[in-house]
């Protein structure tokens, strides 16, 4: 199993570094690219956890669509690319850092306390459940109604976005 551990650590470190990049980068386009790394890392983690369908969806939607949207947004708002340090940050940076670290501390303590010693066992059943067929089956049987609701939500978001962004 050591291969999985190694893979995890590599992915995890990459994601952690990239995520710091997202929130600390002075260049907004770099930030978006760092985000791609984080998202791809997440997809890799999904594969590690035998959730292949979700992993592909992650890649398609996040990296393929969402990041592109971000880039559009960056261009449309003429965000500054590179320049003064702190130009992209506001005045409560230190407060934010303290709070984030504090929350992290609490969360870690909680997690260690609650889930310490629990292990994920990779079995055939797990592999089976990650397959697209199983996921699709569940999605369109058990979760059909939420699925439809989400589709309505998407439609609403679509209309909302158009209404908001339209020049008139």
């Amino acid at each position: 199993m050591w291969e999985q551990d190694v893979a995890f650590w590599i992915i995890a470190l990459a994601m952690a570094a990239a995520s710091i990049g997202v929130v600390r980068s002075r260049n907004i386009v770099h930030a978006a690219l760092f985000l791609v790394v984080v998202l791809a890392g997440a997809a890799a983690l999904y594969i590690l956890l035998v959730a292949e369908f979700v992993a592909w969806v992650q890649v398609l939607i996040y990296i393929g669509a969402v990041v592109i949207l971000f880039l559009f947004g960056i261009m449309l708002t003429r965000a500054p690319m590179g320049g003064e340090p702190g130009q992209l940050d506001n005045d409560q940076r230190w407060g934010a850092a303290v709070v984030a670290l504090f929350v992290l501390g609490v969360l870690v303590a909680l997690l260690v306390d609650a889930f310490g010693g629990k292990n994920i066992h990779f079995t055939d059943a797990l592999v089976e459940q990650g397959k697209t067929g199983t996921v699709g089956d569940t999605l369109f049987r058990q979760y059909l109604v939420p699925f439809e609701v989400v589709s309505m939500l998407l439609l609403g978001a679509l209309v909302g976005a158009v209404v908001l962004a339209r020049r008139d």
């Binding site: 997202v22 979700v54 260690v112 939500l153």
Partner: protein, 99 residues
């Protein structure tokens, strides 16, 4: 594999996201940070799905992804609007609610 690997990684991503949301001035960057937080949640969901051998976690992750897409769409529209009105995407310029 230890469950906590994934959970702690996700907690870290989440807190980085929190930092980003709190400290970034640019609207687009705030939205990106929100994406970080959402991803952290998704990782949690998948990890628990693997732990409990239940496919529901994956479904939820799918929903999270969908909703994230919607959120980004609307969020960016709002940022655009702010930019158009204030000639800047910076969020600390909006303080109409100031008491």
């Amino acid at each position: 594999m230890e469950l906590n690997y994934f959970l702690i990684l996700s907690a870290f991503l989440f807190c980085v996201g929190v930092y980003g949301v709190l400290a970034r001035k640019n609207g687009v960057l705030v939205l990106m940070s929100v994406e970080l937080m959402l991803n952290a949640v998704s990782i949690n969901l998948i990890a628990f799905s693997a732990l409990n051998h239940s496919v529901s976690g994956q479904i939820f992750a799918l929903f999270v992804i969908t909703i994230a897409a919607a959120e980004v769409g609307v969020g960016l529209a709002i940022v655009l609007l702010i930019y158009r009105n204030l000639k800047s995407p910076d969020l600390d310029k909006i303080d109409e609610l100031k008491g």
